[in-house]
Amino acid sequence: MQRDDIRNLAMLVAFAIIGLLFPIVATTRFSQHILVMVVLYAVLGEAWNIMAGYAGMVSIGQAAFFGLGAYVSSVLSVKYGVSPWLGMLCAGLATAAFATVIGLPFSRLRGRYFAIGTIALGQMIKVVFENWQWVGAATGLMIPLANQGFASFQFHASKLPYYYTGLALLLLTLAFMYIMERSKMGYYFKAIRENEDVASGLGVNRTAYKLIAIAVSAGITGMCGTFLAQYSLYVEPEYMFNHSISVTIALVAVFGGSGNIIGPVLGSAILMPISELTRAWLGSSGTGIDLMIYGAFIVLMCVYEPEGLVGMARRIGASIKAQRERRGAARCQNS
């Protein structure tokens, strides 16, 4: 194992410990809600990262997979009494399968055309669900209240079980990405991102690997859909397929820094609390100041640090190192 690997692994473990201990500070229901949103969007950001950050396919239609996942588990649970946990698994598999089918034509699109295609996909699937009577059409589905507990995947007294479930999902995703980054697959993804044609010329089966990236990303996103459905106990097309979900997912990943493991987690850890807290403190004024502050953060980031928080951290790290070296060199000269 190389030094870098060990450092990254140590960082992951540290993250896990911080994540596990966080609820000691977050005792109120609202702070727990913020934590839940942080882990949810961290997972969603990571899923986006696989597809866009690593394999170079920028998607602004993740809500299609998200909503689909939410609907699969909710329909199974409302109509057939299937456990939401099994439903979550089915949601992951179903969205991955759907994404593979959709991915066949989509993987031929490149760059901005792919992004536009995903926007269209998100909107189309929303219209389908708005008119599909069997799944409740525009009314959506209410998941009936049940006794709380892990069996029903409903927790009423405290939100912490939701948080830990989300955290587990996040750690699994991070572990997957850690392995992926070091495997042949990770390198193939990056090769496709940097130059598809060259990668293909060097023998990378680009269609297959693009499909894998899309399917994995969609599968994880679908499972997150189930998570939010169980969290709010309500699915509706306007809610689950909302375009703002797609945008927030991309935002979180880009804000934190895409193309590396830790970026989306950082992005979510900063953006979600800002979004929730500004709303809580300033939202009731109805003036939109909260959204302006939130927007200002994003604009500042885009203008001054397009590489995201990770880029910022790297730059600071590099400048500290350079300073130290300079001091070291100066000391040598003095002696």
């Binding site: 609202f30 403190w281 939202g283 500042l300």
Partner: protein
Amino acid sequence: MRKIILALVLVCVLAPMVSTAAADNVIKIGAVYPLTGATATTGADCRTGVELAVDIINGVYDLDLPFARTAGIPSLGGAKIEVVFGDTRGDPTQGMAETERIITEDKVVAVVGGYQSGVVKTASMAAERLKVPYVLSDATSPALTERGFEWFFRVIPHDGIQAKNALEMVKDIEAKEKVDIKRVAVLWENTEWGANVALEIRKWAKEYGFNIVADIPYTYRATDVTSEVLKLKAANPEVIIHAAYVSDAILFTQTMKALKVQPKIMIGMAGHLDPSYLETVGKDGEYFFVRAVYGLDMASRKPVVAKINEIYKKKYGRDMSPNAARSFTAPFVVADAINRAKSTNPDDIRKALLETDMPGSSLISPYDGVRFDPVTHDNVLGKSLYLQVQNGQFRVVWPFDLAAVPYVYPFPAWK
């Protein structure tokens, strides 16, 4: 640059620490509305209704409304009501989070508001989970009260009751004009709301002995409705009931005029009430009946409506809108329950809500009063108004005891 970002972060972190200490003898209730986002103007409008209601409860006003002449809640030593507003952004997750936040952090003892049915679904779920009463006076989806919630109460009549009222009005007109009306057509936009209206019309038409001669759905925001209108014309209905949002209402009105569809009674819902409807169709909108739960005209039979509107106008510089009027009712229902419960314990308030019996005279809405069904918690005395467009204005014509002017029957030939 980094310093600016740091400063912004600090402002955000430190801002909430400067919280105001709560005064004694204050009862906090929560109100959640879409204060930002696409529905922000409506949310702000609803907010004014709640603010005015609380003003009247807390202050001393010479009005024929409960709690107007006294300051605060009499049974609790004149305790004042304070409203904590939450911003749903029109999003179900945020609606849920905000409701939870104001319940757990601000310790509100009851919640009102919501406006959008989809957001109320999750917001009321949050209140149900945390066992705090939620009194709704502004969202009409029937699905909301079908869930059998214990802590959720609705004052406004749902779509089903409003649809039923349409046929009751036709019955009343039939009796008064001594005519026999049988043939009813229902025209509906195929989203949740329109589908529900059609369902209820079918149900009540059977009950009241009408024949549905045409049952025509169409796609929301249609671009051409000629075939639908031709079908309608072929059925030759005496009554047309149309559930539409504003753009479809305009298109259908114009197409019906072009194809000379000539019923005796034309009834519109929702979209026909939008200010831009009459602006666009002008004289062609004349003599349409439109459902509502508030009309300034009610003042001729309910003087308090005019007085409230005067106070409202002084405060906000415009007439009270139907949305503000809807939101105005819930705080009174909550105050009434707290007053009778003589307690701010949510469970006591819930029990008092179940025994609510407010007379129609204590409201600015056309309801016969407020009394909740023991199972669904819908207001069994809820009732909608029907307005008729006369000389470019919406005039209250039904129920007859609230009518400001007589209705015009039959629907005249298109000009």
